[in-house]
Symmetry: C2
Subunit: 382 residues, 2 copies
């Protein structure tokens, strides 16, 4: 594969903001509630072709944001999928105009529970309406129109981003050329819902949560959010991956402490992940997005699946990873099965790696090669 | 199998208390610290034979206690393994004298962090010394001597109880006839340690934890302990078992709430488990026992294994469950492998069930039949 090297081939980037709905013309949500105004934060990489036919939309996962690649002008941070985007890379910016937006209910510039509620002059907090994957995609659809893009060459997402990509193909069949769903599922299992429930319990039972009004108290429910992240992080890695990386190695010591120090390297690593996370992510957003995950279920029964898939014209690439136990390969295969049953064009590949669910974000060369080949080919076929 | 029926064939039972060590003659712990006095709470079922050769010791798991069977005289509670113990049952009280004690550091009558520290006149809290599986077994050994039992027909334990049973066989080869290790492991994996670390983070970061001195503040860190239990509970059940039991069923509603209610039955179930647990279990004990689990590693390398196993004369029954992902069958097979490599007599069986790790506590008929046959045979061979 012609992969560049480490870091920021797309150079310095900035996040932009699109005002997409108003109080008078609001976003209509699946719950029946309305939301307006709505801002979406987004970034773009590459150049929109004169025929406006080269756009590829990336949908981010649970804790992602619009900053996919490059060095952010304000924060100096490198994007979360930086080595996937740039000239010659998976998302080849010589060929594609790449767009990514922070989802609604997000905490990285898009309208969410931390935004000002125009009705009260205070932050929404838990007054923010519940949003679904369908609502996220509806808002993204408005952004795509706002950018003057009539049709997307492809919509691509991993994990929760894969749910959005699938929703795009279902809801806007005339707009989506190809749909790429990586390390995802058509519905959370009882175990997935259970882990989400525990993470929300950790956050909402933190005394600093204050019913979601923590910013008004100048605190954040950092303990609960850190606990939620630590637990979730275990589910992002495979048992084998954790074993290879940490095993039973001790952290900066020759023998156990016989106390409540963090004896093992894996403990220290998880605590570090928890602390890092609370500095960059909002607790209310975590609640809303896990709930949207719980609700996602586009094919609850055969009749609904048939109805949802009837108008779909895009083709699909579905990818899974052998050691992903959050959304294991059988979940991807369920998606493949329902798509094939409705006569869609689907390619499926499982990649062998010990990297677990997180693999979709990482340098797994055969995965990157497959994804790149799929997207490159879409640039050749008009 | 000749299994009685539901409930309490051994009748009304009471917990007794043995004073086993003193300040002058303390229990010497692996950490180098000493502990005295030490009380162990215990129960017995059946009758010690005149030759005192029919005793079977049950070791309880993480959140168990000495009350294995029967209806407790004080609390009316039925024991945690009630349908395994009684005339004609797995632990046939017509054949065996069954003993179980609450581990040291426990919270059900044995000396633990909630006990009074004679040095200060206050509860130990986190001043309680760290205990290991070896320490738990050393204290149990003193109890067995106190009861006038020269030799145990068998030591049996599931999960953390299996670790204790194995430790018994290693540390007291002359005392242990047979050793039964169910749904257990010779060491925690990095993932196991990680889950324990998150549970301790949840408890210790609860503002009501007060560095372990919560009873002096008339509170308990109930939020953190509930979160820890909810998370752990997910690991006790299999993905398949949760799916079969709950799937995506909603709880007392026809449609989702579009709010932070507990929409799904599995959420409601987990919250119920969390609330129930905090009423019966002590947070400090949870910390100590998870740490003892982390430390357990009797065979860290080949030389240590050879040394540890050289004097061992007991035979072994090792059982695992197909859907247990906390300690999956490969972990039991690792134990079998090391035992066979050192020429021990080992029987191993994996039982097929969707019940996950919890299966060791439950009515899995082939498992109960195997266990019963193994123990019954020990009653026949002198």
């Amino acid at each position: 594969m012609a992969d560049g090297a480490s870091g920021a081939d797309v150079g310095v980037v900035e996040t932009r903001f699109a005002e997409l709905f108003t109080a008078a013309d609001p976003l209509r949500l699946d719950s029946g509630a309305t939301l307006g105004p709505v801002t979406l934060a987004y970034e773009t990489y590459g150049t929109l072709a004169p025929d406006r036919g080269n756009a590829v939309l990336i949908c981010h996962a649970l804790t992602g944001d619009a900053h996919v690649a490059g060095v952010h002008a304000d924060t100096d941070k490198v994007g979360w999928w930086d080595d996937f985007v740039g000239p010659g890379r998976v998302f080849d910016t010589d060929k594609h105009f790449v767009v990514c937006s922070n989802v609604i209910a997000g905490c990285s510039g898009s309208t969410g529970p931390g935004s000002l509620n125009p009705a009260t002059g205070r932050a929404y907090g838990l007054d923010f309406p519940m949003v679904t994957t369908g609502d996220m995609v509806r808002a993204q659809r408005a952004l795509v129109a706002h950018l003057g893009i009539p049709r997307l060459r492809a919509v691509v997402g991993g994990s929760v981003g894969g749910m959005q990509a699938l929703q795009w193909a279902l809801d806007y069949p005339d707009v989506v050329g190809s749909c790429v769903v990586v390390a995802s599922t058509t519905r959370l299992s009882a175990q997935n819902i259970a882990f989400n429930a525990v993470s929300r319990q950790a956050i909402m039972s933190d005394p600093d949560f204050h019913d979601g009004r923590y910013t008004e108290h100048d605190v954040v429910p950092h303990r609960g959010l850190a606990t939620a992240r630590m637990m979730a992080h275990i589910t992002y890695l495979s048992e084998e991956g954790l074993q290879l990386k940490f095993g039973r190695s001790l952290q900066d010591r020759d023998r156990v402490s016989y106390g409540f120090d963090r004896d093992f390297a894996v403990e220290s690593y998880l605590h570090h992940q928890g602390s890092k996370f609370v500095r960059r992510f909002d607790a209310n957003t975590y609640l809303y997005l896990t709930k949207a995950m719980d609700y996602f279920d586009p094919f609850p029964d055969a009749a609904t699946a048939a109805r949802a898939l009837a108008p779909v014209t895009s083709d699909f690439l579905v990818c899974s990873f052998s050691s992903d136990w959050r959304f294991d390969s059988s979940r991807s295969m369920e998606l493949v099965e329902v798509l094939l049953r409705h006569d869609k064009h689907v390619a499926f590949q499982e990649f062998t790696t010990p990297l677990g669910h997180d693999a979709f974000l990482l340098d797994v060369p055969p995965y990157k090669a497959t994804l790149k080949a799929f997207l490159d080919r879409r640039a050749e076929v008009p």
